[in-house]
Symmetry: C3
Subunit: 213 residues, 3 copies
């Protein structure tokens, strides 16, 4: 393995770590809003953080899982969950939808990129790679919402979410097939996906709605 | 591989394609009834179409998945979802339970047959093969209902659904063990399962209910 | 394989069988309370009984599954579900939360122990082994509750459940690393987990609650 590859690997690790933290936080906030108990908050945090990537690895039949390879990450997420709970307990908290959205947007971009990357490394066709990006980016949140007994936000709030990951994924696949350096493709995909999502939140873009009968 | 086997393989592929389309449609209808957004409708369509078969392949540890091997099918399902949405948008739609039932009955028969077939090919015991048929036939719909935040229809509407797949699966296993030609066993299982389900819908058969206290 | 190992293997099998029966029963009771139909009751019974172990084996990439290796167990669980339904139908039944808790507590201890054991056999690090114990012990019930469209009891009732499995799992890992004989570690883990859970139910221990704003 040459230096560029090692460096790329390190970058990917950093990206996955930040995304994991962002999603864990979104899980903790959601579970706290639903008044789950301390255990429930941690589990939902773990599901949101590791659910998407684990499902991707299950589908790609890739072992060991991210969290088996880097056991320290699990302790980090556990610490994050406990700290977030202490922080939330010791002040009035008005947990709005809004607070969840920003770490979520970042996580979406970061996870989509790593998902597409993993699938491309395994020689998957483009559309499967994009799907794996979607699964990694979106299904942590979907599992979080299912356990909290809600229709997943990603599928009902009429704001672009999975669509944005879909677009970002295709850009990654395109850059990859054009032999762009890996770190550049990764960066463009993350920035584009998280940026589009943030823009969609800011400008309040809406997906076309059903005409009510 | 001789001609008969190739032909059987082609038949199996056709069967799986029709079942996939039927289930995708049932997912789109359900998601539209719950007023999910365009992305949600597509995801629920995909889950209903590929969920059961993917879960079966995960459990049997069989790769590549159907939709990785035949990437075109994913584009087909995506096109079907979009077309169905356009069709549903451009007219008053009274989406009744009824409309979902018929493609669902066909899909149930088709998927059960392919599920049992796959497991038997892997030398699984009869009861596991029947279970795999059930998983393939029923769990696409179960995942669809879980994401739509409902108790799965298959488990609460007191009409024979999984039971019918259970019966059809055992018939397949019986014919297989009696060395019936593969295409015949497949055909009998599909017709029997879909037929029994249609009959149950038509005659309004009921499973025994709980006596209310 | 020497005698002690065979004996340990038999003990483990017995433990897994009892736990399976206990969880199946908890699934049947829950499904009956939600008035699912006969098929739904069986499926929820199966999910509660085999869900946690199957998820663990999927994550550990261990085949064949417990229920493929011991097909008889599936017939046993099916018979148990049918018998439980007949029993419940033929008398007034006041299915209280209480009735579900005792088999559940036993199953929790038994499943946690087998989950940790399997992961340790595969040379997993301690924290992953404990997580696998948690998944085995808790996720059968979580799947049961998700299919019944409820927020999993384990995450919201403010009584120690997963926490108890967490503690029991670490004790197993500790004893294992101290080279305690396998059957002793197993026994201590089961007794400790089930005992703590029973104690928590009896003394009505509560996890710290969110301060309501």
């Amino acid at each position: 393995m040459n230096n560029a590859q090692t460096w790329g690997e390190t970058l990917r690790l950093l990206v996955e770590l930040s995304a994991t933290a962002a999603f864990a936080l979104s899980g903790v906030l959601e579970a706290a809003r639903k008044r789950l108990d301390a255990v429930g908050v941690c589990v939902v945090g773990f599901l949101a953080a590791f659910g998407g990537g684990t499902l991707r690895d299950l589908l790609l039949d890739k072992r060991p899982f991210f969290w088996v390879q880097h056991v320290g990450v699990m302790w980090g997420v556990l610490a994050l969950c406990v700290l977030a709970m202490l922080f939330l307990r010791n002040r009035h908290f008005a947990l709005t939808e809004r607070a969840i959205q920003w770490p979520d947007a970042l996580g979406l971009g970061l996870f989509t990129a790593t998902g597409v990357h993993q699938a491309l490394l395994l020689q998957m066709p483009g559309v499967v790679a994009v799907l794996m990006g979607l699964v990694t980016g979106v299904f942590g949140g979907v599992l979080r919402d299912i356990v909290c007994n809600e229709v997943p936000t990603a599928f009902r709030d009429h704001r672009p979410y999975a669509v944005v990951a879909f677009a970002g994924g295709w850009v990654y696949v395109g850059l990859w097939q054009a032999n762009t350096p890996g770190w550049l493709a990764l960066l463009v995909c993350v920035l584009l996906t998280a940026g589009l999502r943030a823009l969609a939140l800011w400008r309040n873009w809406q997906l076309p709605a059903w005409r009510v009968d």
